[in-house]
């Protein structure tokens, strides 16, 4: 029995001593990672309303290398339209290459290809088709028109549009608050939320696949908190844009969102950020912004 008392005592002492150990739950460990071969990483999101063509070029770097990924300043960046060179994009600054065109990119259904070359790297490319413009049929705003998940009265914005049938479509909604003070018009991003389960939120706003309303007219309901309109402001209005996205743009944005959600989450399946750049990494995408819909306030 004496031995047992000693064992129990030892368990208690061990428990007390070892429980005081620093950083038990989170420690630095060595992992042998293979050497990474750098490749070009390109980001180029273009809209039919763009007059400036902008691409960002950098290179990938091993995960444990202490320095930051370097931007590439002397790459050859070319944009092809329907198989022919449309423009070469010269380097501007901070990894961005760009060119201002006359007018807007426009043109539904045109095919664009982005090619990037840089000595010491494998050349990369990607191809996309410009989506159709989708018009908003109607949009309305109502002060205190609905409630949020906590039951609070909130303002409601309803946007109605017609989806194309038998085609997987992806949308983004942009909402701005516009007003004029002394002949100067101001336009600000205005943040809306939604109870609609079909909505996906990304860093870039509200994204919407047509899974549950394919081919039908859809009313998207959004809500916002306390839109403040000063009595001295002139022509206050909400400006609503419905943006028709290429599928790659949708997958890129939602995968970044999934990646951010899975960061530091051990229970999440590792999220792979969508990439459509051949021989490299990143995204080349197109989107078509429909006509602005103005809701006077």
């Amino acid at each position: 029995m004496q031995n047992i008392k000693v064992i129990v005592l030892l368990i208690c002492i061990t428990a007390l001593l070892t429980a005081c150990k620093d950083d038990f739950f989170d420690q630095v460990v060595d992992v042998d990672i293979p050497e990474h071969t750098p490749a070009l990483a390109v980001t180029c999101n273009l809209s039919n309303q763009d007059s400036i063509l902008l691409a960002y070029v950098t290179s990938s770097i091993g995960v444990l290398e202490q320095e930051n990924p370097e931007t590439i300043t002397d790459a050859k960046v070319e944009l092809f339209k329907n198989g022919e060179l449309f423009h070469t994009l010269p380097y501007i600054d901070q990894g961005f290459y760009g060119w201002e065109i006359e007018g807007l990119l426009g043109n539904e259904n045109d095919t664009y290809e982005l090619r990037v070359e840089k000595e010491g790297f494998e050349s990369v490319n990607s191809m996309q088709r410009m989506p159709d413009q989708i018009d908003i049929i109607s949009a309305s705003f109502e002060k205190d028109g609905t409630i949020d998940p906590e039951g609070e009265r909130v303002d409601e914005l309803v946007i109605k549009f017609k989806d194309q049938k038998d085609v997987a479509n992806y949308y983004k909604v942009e909402v701005y608050f516009e007003f004029t003070i002394e002949d100067i018009t101001y336009r600000q991003d205005y943040y809306f939320d939604s109870n609609d389960p079909a909505v996906n939120f990304t860093n870039d706003g509200i994204y919407l696949p047509d899974i549950i309303f394919d081919g039908n007219t859809y009313e998207l309901r959004l809500y916002a908190y306390d839109l403040f309109v000063d009595e001295f402001w002139e022509n206050p209005a909400l400006i609503v844009n419905l943006v028709h996205l290429s599928s790659d743009k949708y997958f890129r944005e939602t995968s970044i969102r999934a990646y951010e959600n899975s960061e530091d989450n051990p229970f999440a399946e590792p999220a792979v950020i969508f990439s459509n750049i051949e021989n490299g990494y990143g995204i080349f995408s197109l989107e078509a912004v429909g006509p602005e819909y103005r809701i006077p306030l």
Binding site: M1, I4, I7, I11, C12, T14, A15, T18, A19, F24, F25, D26, Q27, V28, V29, V31, I33, P34, H36, A41, Y56, T58, S60, I61, G62, V63, L64, E65, Q66, N68, P69, Q94, G95, G145, T146, I147, P149, E150, G151, E152, R153, N195, P197, A198, N200, N203, D204, I211, I212, I256, A258, Y259, P266, F267, A268, E269, P270, V272, Y281, I283
Partner: protein, 788 residues
């Protein structure tokens, strides 16, 4: 069906004739039970010392032994019980029941393995039975006795993450285990995200795990069959037992109802974190507010049995268990307006079985069962806002679940000691709710109610089997065939069927070394969509459909088994298993997302596992326990995952060692230790990174650029090895009206930093590095157990 039964009866009749035509034979049959409790003993041995023939009792304690007319010297034995020897003249069919006394009460008796008990006598390989008393002694996290975590200590069975109770048997995943509680499938075996199992050891009679060499009576899953049978209740007097621990308390009552022919058992368990927190919460709540925290799980087992006579017995057993996590709050204002918020997540199982044992003849035993099983998960969020005459209400509910009704009939036919024939059939109706959202909004000007998500599905599953365990001298075989069909209804309507041969062989060499081999094929028609890391209640059970084909597997195993020095059982087994159409989520999908039907989120591929298992067990004496070692390789390959390349399964573990030792120091004190070692789990890590603009506003010249990491090959890296020592010391005392045990223990006694996961981060100097997260340091525990 009628024709099949006629054929089966003819086979039985033929086997009976062939046995009888040489010499006049008579049958001794009956039940074997525990003298103290009246509990029937499963797999107890009845052995005639003169002829060297014997048999074992079935799941209901029934045995039948047909021998030539002669005097017989019967040994009736069961592990942990005194062996009973009976001499009698077998000159007619005899029905006789035997009651065995526990060896624990008979200290002077040295209980050694009878010849027929020995591992080398069994035809079936890859099967382990763990006594419940041993399970109760094995140290456990927070002192909470856990059946499944004890099974993880067996060779060929891997645990999942730290503290998890998922069973990964020979490279299979937890959904490939058929877990039967009194013959009813249990779909979710976890409480509290997998840290505790739903099985209350106080209500359990025996636990048997079959990892391979499946006899034909088993089907429906690829990797293992775990049979857990509840106690039937003491038939002689009212008894009780219970415990008070850090996490939960338990109470079990059992006894006769009226007469010895009817008995019952009721057992309950509940955690009480919420009850302990209630006074503290109450002190923080202000006037006009109410706040109710719901954070608990419970289990309730109940069983009632009635013996009409030696031919007819009826059993009804049920289990209900649930996890509840939620908050109810309400704020009431002076004018009567209020704001109410209810959030609740709950999930749980309900099972029920009605069983009728009918002894048709002294050689033919029938068991007819009706069963019900359900697992469902509910997530509810509701808000009510009353202001003046207006009431705004909003609610969202996510539900998923599986609901089964089944009927089956099983026959045991024992024409003579050389044949033990089992045959039967079953039909199961499955209903699946594979995840649906319901949104409801009500206010003065809005009335919105919609259901989104995957639609309900239904299916029928049919089985038919025949097996014969036969012996010819030193050679024994269990040959059988299991046939199954699956009809799924609805838009994805399809019919699948499978005919699965089962072979188990044993040859006993002169030195009592048994050589064993087995081959089996399996088919699985229902699938679990699950996260590999945790046993989440959001896991979905879904049927095979036109697009999602049934999972299939074949397994071959071979090995040797021998009893050493009458005390040790030793076995070595090698196995190879190939799986087809195993199911996994595609990379990066959101498993509660609405974007697609569940079928769009999953992909099917192949699995392969092979390895070697070594098992040395000591079941008797003052020191008991086992040493298990597994050397294994587990692979998966999906066209849509890892670029189509084969990769190691997350719980691929090259070496796995477990050592469990229990020593009875004296009559009142025992000490038990369990040490485990396993190669680190495979893990996916980021390999490189690059920067990408997330937001660009040219007009306002605002740019947000962030760095993103990209993962490499799936599961290409290994975490550090896992090892841990747990110790329990149990102090027993017999009081005047009850017995009690104090158990003091510690989990991870040397405080090993076992890896739970690894992520890329920075060290204290800001340098990029990988960091490891560990979950449990040393965790002491104490519990008090009693029995009366």
């Amino acid at each position: 069906m009628k024709t099949i039964l006629q054929v089966l009866c003819f086979v039985c009749y033929f086997l009976n004739l062939s046995a009888q035509n040489t010499q006049q034979r008579f049958t001794l049959s009956g039940y074997i039970s525990d003298a103290a409790s009246g509990e029937e003993l499963i797999s107890a041995n009845v052995f005639d010392q003169k002829s060297g023939k014997g048999t074992v009792s079935n799941t209901y304690g029934f045995f039948s032994l047909t021998l030539p007319k002669d005097s017989v010297v019967l040994s009736i034995s069961y592990i942990g019980f005194e062996t009973k020897t009976v001499k009698l003249l077998l000159d007619k069919d005899i029905s006789m029941n035997f009651k065995l006394s526990s060896a624990v009460e008979l200290e002077a008796v040295e209980v050694v393995a009878e010849k027929f008990d020995r591992i080398e006598e069994e035809t079936q390989m890859s099967r382990v039975e763990v006594p419940v008393e041993q399970i109760k002694k094995v140290p456990a996290l927070l002192g909470e006795v856990d059946v499944l975590k004890t099974l993880q200590l067996l060779p060929g069975v891997q645990s999942g993450g730290e503290g998890q109770n998922g069973l990964y048997v020979r490279g299979g995943s937890p959904d490939q285990n058929l877990v039967l509680l009194d013959g009813v499938p249990v779909y979710n075996v976890s409480h509290l995200l997998g840290f505790f199992s739903v099985f209350n050891a106080d209500a359990i009679k025996n636990v048997t795990l079959t990892k391979g060499g499946f006899p034909a009576r088993y089907g429906g899953r690829l990797s293992s069959v775990l049979e857990i049978n509840m106690k039937e209740g003491n038939t002689s007097k009212l008894r009780g037992e219970g415990s008070i621990g850090l996490v939960s308390s338990k109470l079990t009552l059992e006894g006769p109802l009226g007469s010895e022919n009817t008995s019952f058992i009721v057992s309950g368990r509940r955690t009480y974190i919420d009850l302990l927190a209630r006074p503290f919460i109450k002190s923080q709540v202000e006037e006009g507010e109410s706040f109710n925290l719901k954070l608990f799980f419970y289990d309730l087992n109940a069983k009632i049995n009635h013996k009409f006579n030696d031919k007819h017995r009826l059993y009804f057993s049920t289990y209900s268990g649930s996890d509840v996590f939620g908050v109810d709050s309400k704020e009431t204002y002076e004018d009567g307006d209020y704001f109410k918020l209810n959030n609740q997540t709950d999930w749980g199982n309900i099972t029920a079985a009605l069983r009728w044992n009918y002894l048709i003849t002294n050689k033919l035993f029938a068991n007819t069962t009706l069963t019900y099983s359900q697992f469902n998960f509910n997530l509810t969020a509701a808000v009510e806002d009353k202001y003046g005459e207006n009431l705004d209400a909003y609610s969202a509910k996510y539900t998923s679940g599986i609901y089964d009704w089944a009927g089956k009939i099983d026959f045991d036919y024992i024409p003579n000691p050389n044949h033990y024939i089992r045959f039967g059939t079953s039909i199961t109706h499955h209903r699946y709710d594979p995840g649906a959202f319901q949104f409801e909004v009500q206010s003065d000007d809005i009335d919105f109610d919609t259901i989104l998500g995957s639609q309900e599905a239904k299916s029928f599953e049919y089985t038919l089997y025949l097996e014969d365990e036969m012996s010819f001298g030193a050679f024994r075989a269990n040959l059988g065939v299991h046939a199954s069909g699956f009809k799924v209804r609805g838009n994805e309507s399809e019919f699948y069927y499978s005919v699965q041969p089962r072979i188990g062989l044993r040859y006993l060499l002169n030195n009592d070394l048994a050589i064993k081999a087995s081959f089996n094929t399996m088919a699985q028609y229902i699938n679990l969509l699950t996260n590999e890391s945790l046993s989440l209640p959001t896991d979905l059970w879904v049927p095979s459909t036109k697009r999602i084909r049934p999972q299939t597997a074949w397994q071959v195993a071979g090995g040797v088994a021998k009893t050493l020095w009458d005390e040790y059982e030793f076995s070595v087994e090698a196995y190879y298993k190939q799986m087809k159409n195993v199911v996994s989520y595609k990379e990066g999908v959101d498993f509660i997302g609405l974007e697609n039907d569940w079928q769009d989120k999953v992909t099917q591929g192949d699995g392969e596992s092979y390895g070697l298992e070594l098992f040395l067990q000591k079941k008797k004496g003052k020191t008991t326990g086992w040493l298990g070692y597994t050397l294994s390789w587990n692979w998966r390959q999906f066209a849509e995952i890892n670029g189509g390349e084969r990769y190691p399964f997350k719980y691929d573990r090259r070496h796995d060692v477990s050592l469990v030792l229990s020593h009875q120091i004296n009559k009142n004190v025992s000490i038990t230790g369990a040490w485990v070692y396993g190669t680190g789990n495979s893990i996916t890590l980021p390999l490189f990174r690059y920067t990408t603009p997330i937001y660009v506003d040219l007009q306002n010249q605002q740019v947000y650029i962030r760095e993103v990491e990209t993962i490499g090959k799936k599961n290409a890296f290994r975490m550090a090895a896992y090892h841990r020592l747990d110790i329990n010391i149990e102090f027993y005392k017999k009081k005047r009206i009850y017995e009690r045990w104090w158990t003091i223990g510690a989990y991870n006694i040397y405080n090993r930093n076992n890896p739970y996961f690894i992520y890329s981060g920075r060290d204290d100097q800001g340098n990029r590095t990988f960091r490891q997260v560990s979950l449990f340091p040393i965790v002491p525990s104490v519990s008090w157990r009693f029995k009366f």
